[in-house]
């Protein structure tokens, strides 16, 4: 067909989402010699991975892996990234897409040295989404100390207030620009990779597991922030109710996952995440007791299996086969009793613990907000890859629940798919 000989109108690639998958796709494609635009809706790159304390199974901090990628971005002139940027509209066909991207103002320009004077000057405090609201931050803030781009953000919530003025006055480098306007950028690209990632399933919807009703019931992502040195407690795992380090913790697996009433699929990572978090607690308190309530433990592959075995060998980690279906709070101690049937012994267990972690699953961001492009989704909101049609691809958790390793493998593959779109036409 003659069509195949037609050069694509554009030989650039757009990657949507600057989490671990998007970073990988963008960097791999750029390093292969293609022009790449990476757009990220948050003021920083790194996505969900940036919020983690450690990766499983090696238990290394994610900033380590992210830093290498940020280095690669800095070194590559073919890769241009935009934060606070969201795709507004996509038209065209494989080889020739016109994309408009809306850039929300950061109110801080490239002069920023991260001195923090603006945050000191700002009096208003806002909820910190990065820490799931577990602490307040100033209206002028650095998302986290390893944030890339390494630049403060002025929250739109304080724009127009005296606080914004104070920030501007405090800045010695003329970095605060309060008159920054939202702008729209247009890109012509040959292919698009959607790496729009995931969000934790809203645990409050699982009404029998007490999240939002009892303070000592937290989610696994909150647990990551509690354990992280840059988190709200500087890495101390403590109960939200009273700041006490819990001596016993129950992990509730499949909290919302594999459940027709919530997420019908297995979220893939929660078993490993709980095993990992059990280790966080055990490292900090050698006497702490951990109870993991599960339906099936899923530790796929030899490395994960080994990790699971390590947890099983720990005499203070107890595995109970049976899903927690009821939680009760003791009004005085704020301790939680979780109720499950041990399906092995056939006994109903009422385990009293000081804190509960719900191993909530991952929901694609596209489950709650569909993208402004011609894409097909599963019933659960994951993007279905249409390789027949090509041109646009979903990478990482936008396509299916996955861990970091599989996301990276998948993202690399999608970089190649995006490149193939450019060269075969």
């Amino acid at each position: 067909m003659t069509e195949e000989n037609v050069a694509p109108a554009s030989d650039s690639i757009l990657v949507v989402g600057g989490g671990i998958s998007g970073l990988t796709t963008a960097i791999e494609a750029a390093e292969a010699g293609y022009e790449v635009f990476l757009v990220e809706k948050n003021p920083y790159l790194g996505g969900r991975v940036a919020q983690l304390n450690q990766y499983f199974p090696k238990q290394c901090p994610p900033t380590c892996g992210l830093e290498i990628n940020f280095r690669r971005i800095k070194d590559n002139s073919r890769l241009k990234f935009f934060t606070l940027a969201e795709v507004e509209n996509v038209t065209g066909s494989p080889g020739n897409y016109d994309v408009s991207v809306k850039i929300t103002p950061r109110y801080v320009n490239a002069n920023c040295t991260c001195c923090g004077d603006c945050a000191d000057a700002c009096q208003a405090e806002i909820d910190n989404e990065f820490d799931f609201g577990m602490q307040k931050i100033k209206g002028a803030y650095l998302p986290f100390e390893m944030a890339f781009p390494s630049r403060y953000v002025i929250s739109p919530q304080i724009i127009g207030t005296e606080d914004a003025q104070r920030c501007q006055e405090a800045c010695q480098y003329d970095a605060v620009e309060l008159d920054m306007e939202p702008k729209t950028m247009n890109f012509n690209v040959g292919s698009i990779v959607w790496a729009t990632g995931w969000q934790p399933y809203d645990a409050a919807k699982i009404d029998n597991l007490g999240f939002g009703q009892h303070p000592n019931i937290v989610t696994n992502m909150m647990m990551e922030r509690l354990a992280a040195p840059n988190g709200p407690t500087k890495g101390k795992i403590v109960r939200p109710a009273d700041g006490k380090a819990p001596e016993s913790i129950a992990f509730v697996q499949c909290a919302g996952s594999r459940d027709e009433n919530h997420l019908p699929y297995c979220s893939y990572i929660c078993c490993m995440a709980s095993l990992k978090q059990a280790m966080y607690v055990r490292e900090r308190d050698p006497d702490a007791k951990i109870y993991i309530f599960y339906i099936d433990m899923r530790a796929p592959g030899q490395r994960y299996e080994k990790f699971y075995q390590q947890a099983k060998d720990d005499e203070n980690i107890f595995f109970v086969k049976g899903k927690v279906a009821e939680v009760n709070e003791d009004a005085d101690t704020k301790n939680i009793t979780v109720v499950a049937e041990n399906a092995v012994t056939g006994e109903k267990i009422q385990q009293n613990v000081e804190m509960v972690v719900l191993a909530t699953g991952m929901e694609p961001t596209t489950a709650t907000a569909k993208l402004p492009a011609d894409l097909n989704y599963t019933d659960e909101g994951f993007i279905i890859n249409d390789f027949e049609n090509g041109g646009m691809f979903a990478a990482g958790c936008a396509n299916k629940p996955a861990d970091v390793v599989s996301s990276n493998q998948n993202a690399t593959g999608m970089a190649l798919k995006a490149i193939q779109t450019l060269v075969t036409r």
Binding site: N208, E260, G322, K323, A325, E341, K348
Partner: protein, 383 residues
Amino acid sequence: MADTYVAEPDLGFIKEVGALGGADLKKCYQCATCSVACPISPDNKPFPRKEMIAASWGLKDKLISDYDIWLCHNCGDCNTRCPREAKPGEVLGAIRAYAVGEYATPKALSKAIANPKMLPVLLAIPAVIILVMGFIFNSFGLNWLNFSIPAGGEIWQANFIHNYLVDIIMIPTFFGAIAVFALGLKRFLADMHAQAVADGKAKDEKIDFGKVGQAVVSTVLTIIKHNKFSECGENKERSTAHMLVLFSFIGLFIVTNCFFIAEWVLHIEGPYSQLNPVKWLGNAAGVALVVGGILLLRNRMTKKDQASSYWDWYLVGLVLVLGLTGMLTQMARLAGMAGISYTLYFVHLIFVWSLFAYTPFSKLAHLVYRTAAMTYAEYTNRQ
């Protein structure tokens, strides 16, 4: 493992449980949410998780002798919480239906009663019995079945079908049903006890009859007060419907016995005055039966997530038809509509006979098996 257990799967059983309303059984992945969601499940070996796996393995013998299936009141809390929509409550209901069929003799009748296509035949049986018996007695000059009632006279059912004829048919049927129940119950009790001893749910193999007596009393009180129903989260409203139907059946049983004594012992002929206290009870019970039947129907119609099989509809229909034909017979009589009253009475008798004869084979058999299971649970202090 020291004690191995060889499962003997009965594939036919799995299929039947599916047909009886447990079609989603195989969706179960044994998370055990149901056992916790159930408000009346005991802490030691709770149901229905273990029943779900036993059913999907086709362990028929284990299940029909498992009295836990009868402790379930099918409130639906487990169905709501089930992450797989496997409907454990429906599965247990289906196993109960299967167990009723297993313990009732003859089996052919069990099969017929579970089969909607056989309903016309089953209803024709009492009609034929009444007619044939009537003609036989008529041939002896007793004239107990009278199709030529002179118009204008007092309307009274007995003028059409004599009470003696009714009683001669109904009483043996009633005791026949009791006999079928007795046979089934004997086997059920033996199986249940053996299984409970094997599972460690009952500590002592020997039965202490004094304790059984106490258990009967407290179980009957529990049933009368509908304590188990009120523990349920979902479908609490079923308690009212069940209470109305149960109490009206008890009331009607008392009324029937009173008038039986009036007829056979005291030789007082009806129709009885509406001022008679026994009549009050009869009317109150009749109204309660109709209202209860309508509530049963409404609950089943509005509850979309609860499957209703023919097994369930049979009982709802029976209750409603019994109540309606009974009340309407009397109303037509008082309104002077002789033909309608007599026709309805004939229909009413067909259903009364069906109630007696088919109860050991139908869902209504739960009145015996559930009471027995609850008593046994009380006796073994199942908690």
